[in-house]
Symmetry: C2
Amino acid sequence: MTHTAELIAVGTELLLGNIVNSDAQMISQTLSALGINVYYHTVVGDNPQRVKAAVEVAKQRADIIITTGGLGPTCDDLTKQVLAEAFGKKLVFHAPSARRMEAYFKAFLPHRTITENNYQQAMLPEGCTVLDNDWGTAPGCAFQADGVTVIMLPGPPRECRAMLEHRVVPYLKGMSDGVIASRTVKLFGIGESAMEARLRQQMESMTNPTMAPYAKEGECEVRITAKAPTLQQAQAMLEPVEAQLRREFGDLVYGVDVPSLHARISTLLREQGLTLATAESCTGGLAAQRITDLPGASQVFRGGVVCYTDQVKRDVLGVAQQTLDSFGAVSSQTAQELAKGVCRCTGSDIGLSFTGVAGPDPDEGKPVGLVYIGLARGDRVWVKELHLGSARDRNRNSAVLHGFDMVRRLLSGLDIL
Amino acid sequence: MTHTAELIAVGTELLLGNIVNSDAQMISQTLSALGINVYYHTVVGDNPQRVKAAVEVAKQRADIIITTGGLGPTCDDLTKQVLAEAFGKKLVFHAPSARRMEAYFKAFLPHRTITENNYQQAMLPEGCTVLDNDWGTAPGCAFQADGVTVIMLPGPPRECRAMLEHRVVPYLKGMSDGVIASRTVKLFGIGESAMEARLRQQMESMTNPTMAPYAKEGECEVRITAKAPTLQQAQAMLEPVEAQLRREFGDLVYGVDVPSLHARISTLLREQGLTLATAESCTGGLAAQRITDLPGASQVFRGGVVCYTDQVKRDVLGVAQQTLDSFGAVSSQTAQELAKGVCRCTGSDIGLSFTGVAGPDPDEGKPVGLVYIGLARGDRVWVKELHLGSARDRNRNSAVLHGFDMVRRLLSGLDIL
């Protein structure tokens, strides 16, 4: 049976535009991968009458309702009360949740004392399945009533994401008459529309497995999903589709089920026992920041220099004054010397450099969007010249992704340029 | 009269989680600043029955309906048809919009030919106010019927934002019996709940002007909004409230109507003709990346070093080996030498350093969340010791904000620690 879901986000901060409803995006992606249709998202404020009205509407048009937010300890947090009432259920005290919360406070918030209000969070609809929250204080819950499955999740995206993955997906899989498996094939170096054009005809003819393309900030991905009586069977159905995508896109595929290009190169560096360093002019530290976002980065990343002046390029990274004078800071020659220089001064195996005109104004008479990326390994050095657009933030992101892809290609034995 | 608005986003890509509903956030912020209540956001797919159902629900509970998306040239783009039908209006051909579209194609998409489908975009509800789109091909429109004001905007955020600012705000102001002015007072160094507690009583008693608190990733703000017959009168009403907030929160207020703490320190540096450099261990380049996100950063930022190893701390930034041996890399002494060292090697006036244990694992026997921030100016140096939580990404963000606030305090002649 195909299910139809509606997401209800509860929070005045969403209606004021203080935050964006990223929970809805995250849950939609997950439900889509499970083959569950999402027909509506609703956002409503911290007002019991209006939340109740939204739930009444949703009951008429969905058989799965997932709420986010409003599970906190303050009087604004009313989701459980309203939902329990809408489905004729009482709230009852759930002692194990209270104990978990006490343990959480002790471990992560040692300076805060638990208040009576906090214990409100352990009041849950009678007979519900408790969704333990290991990432915050508010437990989630799920129950079935009036032909509808109701699932309540905390609003903070970090908690919502973890609860979704570890609590909701297993719960929804249990409701299903089959098992769902999915894989995400990640690509760099092709635009979404070009990718989609190459897949469209086939996508439209597929029902199980299915393929869905996504684009995100300069990268692309294709999610393949299969449904079968057992996980093994579902996984087996994915194999030929993954193989076919790899044939179709060749070395544009940088990984399957990996979170990002920088996660991929971190893995490659770790596997090969190599270290990386960055020299960044126009990208201003973005590449270093991405790499070091990952726990354990110190094993593969030795350091970076953000060289916003010629003096830093020269004195810290050893770029020759003559190079700067003859070719300018934004040049292939400078990119090469930066990449070599940062290897030398940090003692890294691989150096990656960025120098360019991020915008909004041209520099050295060179146009906005011109970027040189240098890659050094031992005595060898490669330079890639990019002509990007006029948007500063997109240029920085795009340059960093191109640089990471050069590192991936080097470590995978592929052509770099 | 106070208006109540509902936003309806039309687009299957939102329900698949392919994109996040950033239009809703943007429009909500704008309506909130205009004093218009937003009670619901709805997202619905490209399906005429379901869009119609969403509009019927919205008509019952809002007197302003703003739609985003579904104005494009393909058969999926059905917003105008459905809305016109729901309010008993015919679509009629609007020749000036067709001419504008032809001119737009000529100027920005010279390689594309206009198709019959494109001309569908010039079909608009009879008697509507046309909202000219100078940023894309699909015109927006507005009309009033059945006691409801309907406004339709294109979905792409860049077009939606421009149309909102240049077309919708003037239209809504024309509906209003007064003018709205607002100011945002930005704070650092106080939590949202503590700020709210100090303001709650007063906030609740205010009707015009009003105050609304917001929290965002470690910072807080209070938005004050006033409505009056003229802009001058509205502005005058904001003065005493701003003054009172400044008295209440003193030097926790880092600015009014400034976008961020790093924008504030960039302005201070520029005004005082000073330059900054960063030495980052645990923050991995995040501080440099933030500062260089701003156009014109090269005037105030000379460079930074991401020092992920002791060798880089010593050889590039000149931290004494003895300091590292005696006190460790995560220590007040190392933070001081890093801040001084980065001034020296980049030739900057001010040096800001970060060294700590971002997590998830302890390091040097020191706990996750311990961070030392060093600030150097000439011969003087200050160090702040932080004990943050266990979440790596929040720790990095929080450390960077504390560091920026130290720079702000230095440049504003305030106590730094």
